[in-house]
Symmetry: C3
Subunit: 354 residues, 3 copies
């Protein structure tokens, strides 16, 4: 029998197992008061093991419960919540312990909301936020302090702009999106036409669409399209300080780590991952299920799923200084090798060997 | 005979040809209602062809008019606006169709403007903006929501701070500049003096000057100079998420793509282009007309115009993993090749050949 | 005898020598009105020489005083302030000439301060700033325009948030910290668990701790920890546009230049320096006194102090295009060299030489 929802001071393991979608091996009535790391957990806490390299710590844990995979169960010294995806179960358990929302719906007296904006039920607008005319905020939308929601912007139900988020005119945000501080959506794409030595600005008339369940990290920028829209598809997740240029399309459930840059008109498929510091040139396409490792520059379309790289790993500086400049002579080295091969062929011929 | 300015629902081609500086081959009275891509255009729309690789799409376009170069005219199935610079003509046509400014000049009741600031004719200050004492805003300047204009800042006529732009004390912005959301101008340069193991901050007493017609992309940061000013010259264009360190000078009409970083005291000439993700070390100079390709690090002055590179392009991960680590042994490989050459010389000598 | 503090129009050299901790060679009563570069300095100004490559300029300087090291003294044509660390002395002299703070303590009428926040003596809160309930600001704290200080945030004595800084709920900032515009502290870490093809957000329950004397550059982002806190230790200095992911720890007096990215759970030791554009993967450790040069990606723990590199320097594009792609064939080249060595061995055996 599982315990009821949240006991005084915590959750019963039976209840957490149900929430986590895990199978409980142990006492369902044991109550845990909070989550901790495998190393730091004390009695009364719950933890998880997802990376096998931390297995050593499992035997020594003082936690009252551990979320883990079937193969680790035999090493578990305490109650276990067993599942094939411990990290997912962990995410669900953490959600139980996340602090409750402390803002009440309503518009703060120090917010500025146009009389021509439409706010759904349960919308929160915090101090210093500005909502322009024509903006439409769905039910339960939360606009944090010092955000700007431009003209005719739409924000879907339950989406949240944490703080200092800027959505420029006409941007469309789906439901359950989460936009972290400093995010800018709808800035002009970098469109410039040469007029002799000078640059003429190319007006950017498209907009940006974020579909449902998109998360955008702090200080990430997403430019509006030139003619059509820049599109971030359902469930895509962007980390901090990422640049998304005009006309880009990012596929469903694709995740992009911090400091990546996507140049204009590039299309990224579904379920891709781009590691930190990656860069994509413009006007290329990445197929679904493409994975790009850290510090890699992608200069051509990648039409096959798979893992791609061009990042170089740090070595001691002296070693690097001696070796890296030789890249500039690789062509010469390659030619010399070919010459040597030919010379040896000739010598072999002469010596009658080979 | 050309049509008058903007017909109901659009522009006559004769008028657009005049605006675009192009030669019309077709009917000047045909009216187009808006711009579209070559692929997406329908009857009643205008489009352009600038990149020859899209020529195939030209024959099939349903557009009522296409802006293109003389060499493409023979392939055009509809009215043509012919010019040597189709992309520039396109920029001008787009300007006709850009949405009209919807803010009326004036200071919003929820803006804060110091009584010691001076505002020119036709200035707009939107809600949440703060203008400090001594600031001087020229005619037609537009300060968007949640911007901060610091003490003694000057902003030239017709410049626009889109939203959440921060100009710190003493910064000087020229005329017709465009600063996108999240831009920071005048933050302290990263000046640190060692005091034993600790760092002593080196006060940054210079400022930043943006000359006329400078555009700065979202969340780009430009630090103030240490003693003198950081200077961005007339017509320079900066994309999003760029770092410009203290004392840097960026030349006229130079364009820098997103995620680039320019270290302190480096000077970039006129008409340069830096592609995305490039980095320049400090205290170097780039001549006029230097072009740097993506992901390139510039570690020495580049005194000659030209194109420079050091970025590496993505390949399948397995291939990369097998090859890239060998860079660490290039010196050794090079020496072995030399040894082989000598060995072959000797063998040749012995065999009497060569 | 040294002059008193700040003469009309400047400082006497005797006084400045005392402040700088330098030995004066010259007239203590000469008054200087301000600092300048070695090249630009006129009579009545003070300058410094720290980098020997500018020695040539010393002989020609018109400055009334130069801060320099003992070894440069013989080349100095004017009054000299002699010290083993001229740049540190320069920092101290500059501090004398830095413009005085022009804001008076107090809460601006257009700021929003929760009645449940606690403000120490001499706190300044500028227009547009929002201070949430439970926030505690120490003595002399300065919160600039449009900043947001979240719930239960603590900010130590004399710390300054310059403008548009966002500190999310529960963040703890030490004393004498300096946070530049656009800084975001406490955004969610990028924690995602796979749920089939979709991503489930992993709640981020930790916070961020900035110890005393930390400086954070414009638009830099520091994510909150997943369970424990992200920690920036005393005296660490971060430049602009840096990403610090969840659970990272940055050691005391470590300095990180712009555009660097530190992935999750990585620990950086004390007194390290990371140059611009560097990237560290997650879950690694850098020992104390590790120095990483520009554009380097660190993929493994660096357990020994020293300098590490993997960045490549720009060369003319034609040269690069001919050589860099050959990296993809390095393994093959290496194998060919080995074959050649063996072939030569065989030839030598046959010819009876070697």
């Amino acid at each position: 029998m599982t315990a009821g929802p949240r006991e005084a001071g915590g959750y019963a393991l039976g209840e957490l197992a149900r929430i986590a979608g895990a199978e409980l091996h142990g006492d369902p009535e044991v109550v845990v008061s909070g989550p901790e790391t495998l190393e730091g957990a004390q009695a009364g806490q719950i933890t998880f093991l997802s990376n096998p390299r931390y297995r050593k710590r499992l035997a020594a844990t003082a936690a009252s419960a551990v979320i883990l995979s079937p193969s680790e169960l035999e090493h578990c010294p305490t109650n276990a919540l067993v599942t094939d995806n411990p990290y997912l179960a962990w995410a669900r358990v953490l959600r139980c312990f996340a602090p409750a929302e402390r803002t009440s719906p309503g518009v703060h007296a120090a917010a500025v909301v146009s009389s021509k904006a439409r706010l759904g039920e349960g919308v929160t607008v915090e101090a210093g936020a500005v909502i322009a005319e024509g903006a439409v905020l769905g039910r339960g939308v939360h606009v944090g302090p010092n955000c700007y929601v431009g003209r005719d912007v739409t924000v879907g139900d339950q989406s949240r702009l944490v703080a200092s988020v800027t959505l420029l005119d006409g941007v469309r945000v789906g439901r359950r999106c989460l936009l972290h501080p400093g995010v800018v959506v709808g800035s002009d794409g970098f469109g410039l036409a040469r007029d002799g030595a000078r640059w003429e600005k190319v007006p950017q008339l498209g907009s940006v669409v974020l579909e449902d369940d998109v998360e955008v990290g702090a200080n990430t920028t997403i430019d509006r399209g030139a003619i059509h829209d820049t599109v971030i598809r359902r469930g895509a997740k962007l980390d901090n300080l990422i640049q998304v240029a005009h006309n880009v399309e990012i596929g469903e459930d694709t995740a992009i780590a911090a400091c990546a840059g996507i140049s204009g008109s590039t299309r990224i498929g579904a379920r891709c991952t781009l590691a930190g510091g990656t860069g994509l040139v413009g006007h290329i396409e990445l197929a679904d299920d493409v994975h790009v490792t850290g510090f890699t520059m992608v200069t051509h379309s990648l039409k096959e799923p798979g893992v791609y790289s061009s990042g170089l790993a740090a070595v001691p500086h002296g070693q690097w200084k001696r070796n890296a400049p030789r890249i500039k002579r690789l062509d010469e080295m390659s030619k010399k090798i070919r010459e040597l091969e030919r010379a040896i062929e000739r010598l072999r011929g002469e010596s009658g060997s080979g």
